[in-house]
Amino acid sequence: MKTMEVRIQRYLPEQHSEPVVESYQVPFDDSTSVLDALNSIKEEQDSSLSYRWSCRMAICGSCGFMINGEPKLGCKVFLRDYAAAGTLLIEPLAHFPVERDLIVDLEQFMQHLDAIQPYIIKEQANGVSEMTPHKQTPAQMDKYQQFSDCINCGLCYAACPQFGLNPEFIGPGALALAHRYNLDSRDEGRAERMPLIGSEEGAWSCTFVGYCSEVCPQSVDPAAAVNQAKVLSAQDMVLQLFRRKK
């Protein structure tokens, strides 16, 4: 079995005053993912290594890391892909505060996600919710389905230079989800979401770098969602002018 040098950025608050990079020799074959390598290090070499993971199949979105400087899911990339480069550097996701080793504090992302109300908002008649099913045609579903595959892994936030400059920026993932619900024919919450989307910290902090869409493991294309949201926000602004004139 071949081996590869895997370097990992370590930070144990009780031991380190600042992050340090430690090196491990990891045996691998064609089926060894980066997550497998981390599990092997934890089991065989250093049980103090901390990182998040769960499903091993790019569904849960827990194992996002910077791998050789790029935001990736550890379970979706393999050591064989880095055999030519000969070395592998695993760091915590960029733009988030590091709690311990490869574990970052996602609180800011969770707050943004919460703020855009990523769920169907339905006006209730007399305070009673409708018990009838919300029907939808395939064409109506097509409008938002692409944006509904988000697994909240945070890779797009690690990729976004604007989120890196200003963590108050709602960010690609949350804006894509806001757009997903705004496009849903069953939803009536657009008016509630638009003020945040149209604010400085909303869609307008985006400068269309597009790296978020490149790194998205689910091909959600948040950059497209954010820029479609800009069009909606601009329309909203013009309509607002006419409303005030009345």
Binding site: P161, S199, W204
Partner: protein, 119 residues
Amino acid sequence: MSKTVKRSDEPIWWGLFSGGGVCFAVFVPAAVFFLALALPLGWIELSHAQAVKAFGSIFAVVFVGAVIALPAFHAAHRIRHGLYDLKCRSRSLIKWLAYGLAFAASVYAMGSWLISFLL
């Protein structure tokens, strides 16, 4: 996050940026070809009197808008956001300077056209 959020004025600048982008792609190359290549190389003839007359026509206002004003706002928008990316801190000063210069260039060009038109 506070519930009362202020609407961004960015749609205005983004609109000018978008319009300017189209002009930069379509009209500016044509103007550069005509004024900076075809004229100096003598491929076409344009006397000073002809140029002054053309600039005084009503169509020249389209030229001023499409080749000077909108591209100026497009460039100002890029400079503003580029400087923000380079972590220049005085954001409102940069905003005033960038769009102010674009506005000044547009007013100067429009004013020149108006004078030529009225004369």
